[in-house]
Symmetry: C2
Subunit: 120 residues, 2 copies
């Protein structure tokens, strides 16, 4: 597996949890410490710390080493990678359906009962 594919797998796996998605939504509004992030959830700070580790390993957040409280910050590069994968894939699919539409339109343009062209 290439590094890009591994990164993409880690990103999607990190996004596959509702608490982690809520943490990212909170961080989109501004940096926050573990205790600030734990507040709205009915889980321990320890559980939040585990989620933060998954998000950090997936490159979706970074944490300051300077302050004792180590505030978390959103990193959007990986998220862009995930969005790019989905949109590339959607595009392939749409092109496939456009080709099908064109084919059907071409069939419709040929009046009913008109014989196929043959060599004269």
């Amino acid at each position: 597996m290439t590094i890009a594919a591994q990164d993409l797998s880690l990103t999607f796996a990190a996004l596959a949890d509702p608490t982690r998605r809520a943490i990212l939504e909170r961080l989109a509004l501004g940096d926050a410490t573990v205790s600030e992030l734990a507040e709205p959830f009915a889980v321990t700070q320890q559980a939040i710390s585990k989620h933060l580790k998954v998000l950090e390993r997936a490159g979706l957040i970074s944490r300051s080493r300077a302050a004792q409280s180590r505030p978390c910050q959103l990193e959007t590069g990986r998220l862009d990678g995930a969005a790019d994968w989905i949109s590339r894939h959607r595009q392939l699919w749409e092109e496939r359906y456009d080709r099908l539409d064109e084919h059907l339109a071409a069939l419709r343009r040929r009046p009913e009962g008109e014989p196929k062209e043959r060599g004269t």
Copy 2:
């Protein structure tokens, strides 16, 4: 957890595997049977069948019940849901940075050394 949140978790979990992503990429080009899907991979048809079950449970593909070969078809609704979540989240983050930019621009507009307004 709401049903929408559960669906989103299943979608992202299904996308967190490179073989499953490759299967979706293949299906974007056209419907395919299990043996057609297994061909380009160095894995058994049984392993592919397991991946297809994960993709089907996540609503990313559907399988025909009619034919013995049960060809697989891409379903894009769930993929749109995943893309929507990412783009909503990106938007929040961009708005935050726009506000920060405006704030910095406002600070720059005030000439250096000019005293803050006070009540006269």
